[in-house]
């Protein structure tokens, strides 16, 4: 089986728009969550989020392109261009059909949907922008990134809500292993901090409402006082490459991508399976595929959304699979700091895992004040820890019951 490695990382997040700044912020336990400013949140039960207020699309593309694309696509372009630069990948020197792009989004062009719906209702159908459809469709980020890079290989978007980016990375791994491409740019992007996005998630009672006066404390996965997730926006992409291709061009692998598993709870549209069976299946499956013992795993970057159910059932799934090793695992939810980037979550978290494997530094889960008896594992509370890790897993679960796990290994030649 072909070995696949990560050779580049690009991201735009509230905690930094390059991997080093981002990872240092995580290690320092910084929160990127503030009061919402993109719209007046006064009437909303949740008034906090991780907004990219200093993002300027024209740093990454001509103003005309910026206008024609939704914010989610702008983030994706910024992340992909950085990842390619980080990987020192010269696309022009490659056969363009051997480089593909799979950048998903949980929702796509939410802001475009809102703006143009308003125009439709207020001004009529002739005033709806011709860029409405190309801006809002979820596959456009992959399409535009391909145009920017001249990448003509496999190209589409995966949509599985909050598991989107993990599936995108995992399916890209498959594509590389089948030999359909040598390089894949994989990840996710999300820009759903809009009035409709917040109203919708608030109506579901999925978002935190009790920490509007203390935004940094709102995302508190596994803590007893957790009361819902906090949304973030941004994007991350990884350059994935067959090891042979990476070595042949003199690239330095950052870590190895070993295995991926996907499953569905087949239980409820939004509630996770109370036994965590779908996630447990994925966790066991990645261990089986990589042929390693559960005890070899040192770190899990949890889905850890800060909702009552997710954190409880995710803990249960981990215990089911890891048994007596579960209490020895280092587990953290970086969503405690980044907020939940929905379709981009799996990619920024995979980026964090790459750095954990490289450095042996483990980011904390912040806002751990009062333990919850149903969440009784080692969530690396409040402060980063140091422990070399050879194997690590990233979990992400989406509405719809969709689960994805990816297993990565510290790079050894």
């Amino acid at each position: 089986m072909k070995r696949v490695v990560v050779t580049g990382i690009g991201l735009v997040t509230t905690l930094g728009s390059d991997i080093e700044t981002f990872f240092s912020s995580l290690l320092a336990g910084k929160s990127g969550i503030r009061r919402i400013t993109r719209f007046d949140p006064s009437d909303y039960p949740c008034q906090v989020g991780a907004e990219l207020n200093d993002f300027n699309p024209e740093d990454w593309m001509e103003s005309k392109k910026a206008i024609r694309n939704d914010r989610y696509t702008q983030f994706a372009i910024a992340a992909a261009l950085q990842a390619v630069a980080h990987a020192k990948l010269d696309v022009k020197q490659m056969n363009p059909f051997r480089i593909g792009v799979v950048i998903g989004s949980g929702i796509g062009g939410m802001e475009t949907i809102e703006t143009q719906s308003r125009r439709l209702i207020e001004l009529g159908p002739r005033k709806v922008s011709p860029f409405t459809i190309p801006s809002l469709i979820v596959n456009m980020a992959s399409g535009i990134v391909a145009i920017e890079l001249g990448a003509k290989g496999p190209n589409f978007a995966i949509v599985s809500a909050c598991a989107t980016a993990s599936h995108s990375i995992g399916e890209s791994l498959r594509i590389l292993r089948t030999g359909d491409a040598d390089v894949m740019i994989a990840g996710g992007s999300e820009a759903a901090i809009t009035r409709l996005g917040y109203a919708g998630f608030c109506s579901m009672k999925a978002m935190s409402t009790g920490f509007n006066d203390k935004p940094e404390a709102a995302s508190r996965p596994f803590d007893k006082k957790r009361d819902g997730f906090v949304m973030g926006e941004g994007a991350a992409t990884l350059v994935l490459e067959t090891l042979d291709h990476a070595l042949a061009r003199g690239a330095q692998p950052l870590c190895e991508l070993l295995a991926y598993s996907a499953s569905c709870d087949a239980y409820h549209i939004t509630s996770p399976d109370p036994q965590g069976a779908g996630l447990a299946h994925c966790l066991q499956d990645v261990l089986n595929k990589a042929n390693i013992a559960a005890s070899a795993v040192g770190y899990i970057n949890a889905h850890g959304t800060s909702t009552e159910y997710n954190d409880k059932f995710e803990t249960l799934a981990i215990k089911t699979v890891f048994g007596s090793h579960a209490p020895r695992l280092k587990i953290s939810s970086t969503k405690s700091m980044t907020g939940h980037l929905l379709g981009a979550a799996g990619a920024i978290e995979a980026a964090a895992v790459v750095k954990v494997l490289q450095t042996g530094r483990i980011p904390p889960t912040i806002n751990q004040e009062e333990p919850d008896e149903s969440c009784d594992l080692d969530y690396v509370p409040n402060h980063a820890q140091t422990q070399p890790v050879e194997y690590a897993i990233s979990n992400n679960l989406g509405f719809g019951g969709q689960n994805a796990c990816i297993l990565m290994r510290r790079y050894t030649p």
Binding site: R126, K127, S129, P130, F131
Partner: protein, 91 residues
């Protein structure tokens, strides 16, 4: 309203929509040839002209048979002027 100001307003819109510097937009510049506009840009440009000149040309906007003939910056300026004249003649 003077010709100068219609011209300035047209050029300002084109500059915003197509991401071009004002000084790069000449009267004889063609949208698709010189300014790199594609078919979607053209639709949005016409909407922007309709919006900007709704007081001068009326709320009905620019019919498709007219918009198809607007190929250069000068065409748009002439078109707006003509529509204004037609309206004042009727008025």
């Amino acid at each position: 309203m003077s010709n100068q100001s219609i011209q300035e307003r047209v050029i300002q819109i084109i500059s915003n929509q197509l991401g071009r510097k004002m000084e790069d937009i000449k009267l004889e510049s063609s949208f698709t040839g010189d300014l790199d506009a594609d078919s979607l840009d053209l639709v949005e440009l016409v909407m922007a002209f309709e919006n900007e000149f709704s007081a001068e040309i009326g709320e009905d906007g620019i019919p498709e048979e007219d918009s198809e003939k607007l190929r250069t910056v000068q065409d748009v300026i002439h078109y707006v002027e003509k529509r204004m004249k037609d309206r004042s003649a009727k008025g």
